[in-house]
């Protein structure tokens, strides 16, 4: 910058540069997703949705209650309309036929229905997606189901949990799978179920399910589960499922966030994790 020039003009010129085209694949992904996403039924004043917290909890509760009522009236318990997008029932999806070997992919990008292969931190594994709508995010290991709220983070290696999630303070956790599973039940501001024995990729694992209390002292996006800059819930209306297991002498976890309590979405998340196979 060798000449004295009008800074405002420079700023405008700087902002005039850059990409202005949305790639076709994004339009295609949106089209694919909206065809399986119900539009929300409007029952009250307009409010701009927030990407992280779509509605105030009270309003959301009102929508759900009214939605249940309307659903029961209209469909006799087979509820549609308000609430999270209805996922195709996993049981309605035909089981994948014997398929060729999964195709390796770069992490970010759309996810094919079927078995997908990935490598994180040198560990090769695959997982099966039974319905469209999931995308690999730019954060290696993380897959999202749009609209945001449901996501899975594969192969984390946290060695602490929060002792005060809003303050970002942590407690070190012992080395075993059981140590981490037990520690996850102690995070203040959460209600956890006792760890249960399960498997991930055929390996012994423990699953911990916990919910975020609605009276936490900070915004959910500042509620650190494993310590600062780790993971936070999308909302107080989130259910966290964490699978902890040991692979080749190291402890890993798979962390998922479900916004809301839709049973089919919970099942879909669980099935994805249970489908993991290590190479």
């Amino acid at each position: 910058m060798t000449k004295s020039r009008d800074p405002d003009r420079l700023i405008r010129a700087f902002l005039a540069e850059g990409q202005t085209d949305l790639p076709d694949q994004i339009y295609d992904a949106v089209r694919d997703q909206i065809e399986r996403t119900n539009q929300r039924v409007v029952i009250g004043p307009w409010r701009t949705p927030d990407m992280n917290r779509f509605f105030a909890l009270g309003a959301a509760a009102a929508v759900v209650v009214l939605g249940v009522f309307i659903g029961l009236q209209l469909f006799g318990g087979n509820i549609g309309g308000p609430g999270p997008p209805v996922q195709p029932s996993p049981t309605a999806t035909p089981p994948p036929s014997p398929s060729p070997a999964p195709t390796p992919q770069a992490w970010a990008g759309p996810i094919q229905v079927g078995r997908n292969e990935a490598t994180i931190s040198g560990i090769r594994f695959s997982f099966r997606i039974s319905s469209p709508g999931w995308v690999r995010t730019r954060w290696e290991g993380m897959i999202n189901l749009f609209p945001p709220g449901n996501w899975i983070g594969f192969l984390n290696s946290f060695d602490s949990v929060s002792s005060d999630p809003c303050a970002g303070t942590t407690t070190a956790v012992g080395p075993s799978v059981a140590d981490m599973a037990d520690a996850l039940t102690t995070i203040p501001g959460t209600e956890a179920e006792a760890p249960v024995d399960t498997t991930v990729g055929g390996l012994p694992a423990k699953l911990v399910v916990f919910t975020i209390n609605d009276d936490i002292d900070c915004d959910p996006s500042s509620f650190w589960i494993y310590g600062p800059d780790s993971a936070y819930p999308n909302s107080v209306n989130s259910t966290i499922r964490t699978w902890v297991f040991e692979l080749d002498g190291s402890r890993y976890s798979i962390h998922s966030n479900q916004e809301g309590t839709d049973a089919e979405q919970a099942q879909e998340i669980t099935e994805i994790v249970e489908s993991v196979q290590f190479e």
């Binding site: 060798t2 800074p7 420079l10 700023i11 902002l15 996006s221 936070y232």
Partner: protein, 188 residues
């Protein structure tokens, strides 16, 4: 005319017409991308933000009372999507290396390579909220009150963010100009 076309498509999309929404998305998607990539300074993140915003818009479309206001309404959703992407990026993985935005030179080609580098670094130091106000004001050409209305913040807050962001960028430009001037004096 564009507004009326939008309004017609919005009305159809509100009835659940995915084809209409697809047309609507394609008519506004590029502008959304342009906004998001300038706020987030990362094309991949911007794509995620726009995709999320469009799906949210579809889901919430029946709440939009005035179809003529579709695009401003979408921009507010997009702004929240950009904030969410910026937060998620920062918190989920600190190790991600941001690639510079691909320079596509505009008609007002007054920037040198050094200018771009300087402004890029200064811009990234701003908060995502400050960058948003700058983009809506300088790139879309909205007044401060229009910016406030578009992204759903008080006018005073918009003024404050614009003031601090502009001051920070100007300070970078001025500091660089002073450094260049000093360097030239030494050489002379």
């Amino acid at each position: 005319l564009e507004g009326r076309v939008h309004a017609t498509l919005v009305d159809r999309a509100k009835q659940g017409d995915a084809e209409a929404f697809d047309s609507l998305a394609r008519s506004v998607g590029d502008r959304c991308m342009a906004i998001a990539v300038r706020i987030l300074r990362d094309a991949d993140l911007a794509e995620d933000a726009v995709q999320g915003a469009l799906i949210t818009a579809w889901r919430e479309l029946r709440a939009l009372r005035n179809p003529d206001l579709f695009e401003p309404w979408l921009h507010r959703i997009l702004t929240n999507a950009c904030y969410a992407e910026a937060r998620r990026r920062r918190r989920w993985s600190e190790g991600i290396r941001l690639l510079p935005v691909e320079p596509v030179h505009g008609p007002d080609d007054i920037l040198t390579v050094d200018d771009r580098d300087l402004l890029e670094r200064a811009f990234r130091r701003l908060t995502v909220e400050q960058r948003t106000v700058l983009v809506f004001h300088h790139y879309l050409g909205l007044s401060v009150s229009e910016v406030a209305d578009r992204i759903g913040i008080p006018v005073g807050t918009a003024k404050s963010r614009l003031h601090h962001a502009t001051r920070a960028l100007r300070a970078s430009v001025d500091a660089d100009a002073r450094a260049s001037s000093t360097s030239q004096e030494r050489m002379a």
